[in-house]
Symmetry: C2
Subunit: 211 residues, 2 copies
């Protein structure tokens, strides 16, 4: 049965949204197309009217997830609205660690994306580059780093540590919840130092940054 253009576009968007959540939560290999379609309120055959393959859907779902999580937020608010302190507080938080389905797709899927095709690598690269540039801009305002090259270097390392910190905190969580909390807090603290936060800044920084 044919459907209005609007309804078809909404169905396509529902597929991408469902895929973005399910792929983060259980991995690309861990979710079947039938479940994605069901979650979007469609039957499994419908997917192929909108996407060439599960892989094509995965690439689009990754792009969607990047735009809707921390990466997209920095693009909207990054230049002046977000400080490094507020950004690190939001990313390196237990709430983010516990929100696999809605959190940063880079943290959720970093190691499995290494095994996917170039289209998916390109989406990841784009998201990573955007977050690095946003961090570099944040460093600019508070920086201890003198040159732009040094700021970029620090931004790259901070982005890698954020992703690794959340991924590691999730990996140890079932067996060692104490260690998981410790990782989140330690990475938060040390990256603040790397980014030029004062050694004991939390009360001041929170007051001057939030609200």
């Amino acid at each position: 049965m044919k459907v209005t253009k609007e309804k078809a576009a909404a169905n396509r968007a529902a597929l991408v949204r469902a895929a973005a959540r399910l792929f983060r939560e259980r991995g690309i290999d861990g979710v079947g197309v039938a479940e994605i379609c069901k979650s979007a309120g469609l039957t499994h055959g419908a997917l192929y009217a909108q996407f060439a393959s599960k892989e094509a859907l995965a690439a689009e779902a990754l792009a969607y997830g990047l735009d809707r999580s921390f990466v997209g937020l920095t693009a909207v608010k990054g230049d002046r609205g977000t400080t490094l302190t507020a950004f690190l507080d939001a990313y390196l938080a237990p709430q983010h660690r516990d929100d696999l389905a809605g959190g940063c797709p880079m943290a959720a899927s970093a190691s499995e994306i290494a095994r996917q095709d170039e289209a998916i690598s390109a989406q990841f690269s784009d998201g990573f580059e955007r977050i690095v540039e946003a961090i570099q801009r944040m460093l600019g305002t508070t920086a201890t780093t003198a040159s732009a090259a040094a700021a970029r270097q620090h931004a790259l390392a901070i982005a890698a540590a954020m992703i690794g910190g959340i991924a590691a905190a999730r990996a140890v969580r079932k067996a060692r919840p104490d260690l998981s909390d410790e990782i989140v807090m330690a990475v938060r603290q040390v990256l603040g130092e790397v980014g030029g936060e004062a050694a004991i800044p939390r009360a001041d920084a929170a007051a001057s940054t939030h609200g």
Copy 2:
């Protein structure tokens, strides 16, 4: 056909070794038991004489991979034999990034381990804890960090950044090999700074550390 105890033990070890390599290379969901057994020179049914399930094999393969890669190396040589400089040079290297099957299982599988059961989380936790303690010992000898608590905090952040750095470098590699190299070098450099390496130490550090 029955087989000598020695041969049975060797077959079991071959299964673990093959699984450790294949799981890192293609993910736990990405490899079937038939391929693991074939790679170990056995038929697929043989696995269940040695392991309760694929999952049990995965836990043992993870433990094996941790012992045989960087984590195990620090246990053998860590206390005095390895400096932070040498350790970071080895871990944050293009050779490690390109050796998915033989490299650190935490970098290879961090994000998918968050989705596995507690036994696998426990193995990851154990490996992570060991590498953090090794880094903390390395920091002890060169430290800018005064207290033990600060040293542990830094060690946790360094470990997370190492894992995230290699995972991100692999994820962007197909689409952006230039960015991949840049990530590896930037994380290497910044973690050296965090660990107390001098600002422009490479020549000196290399001379005093290696050989």
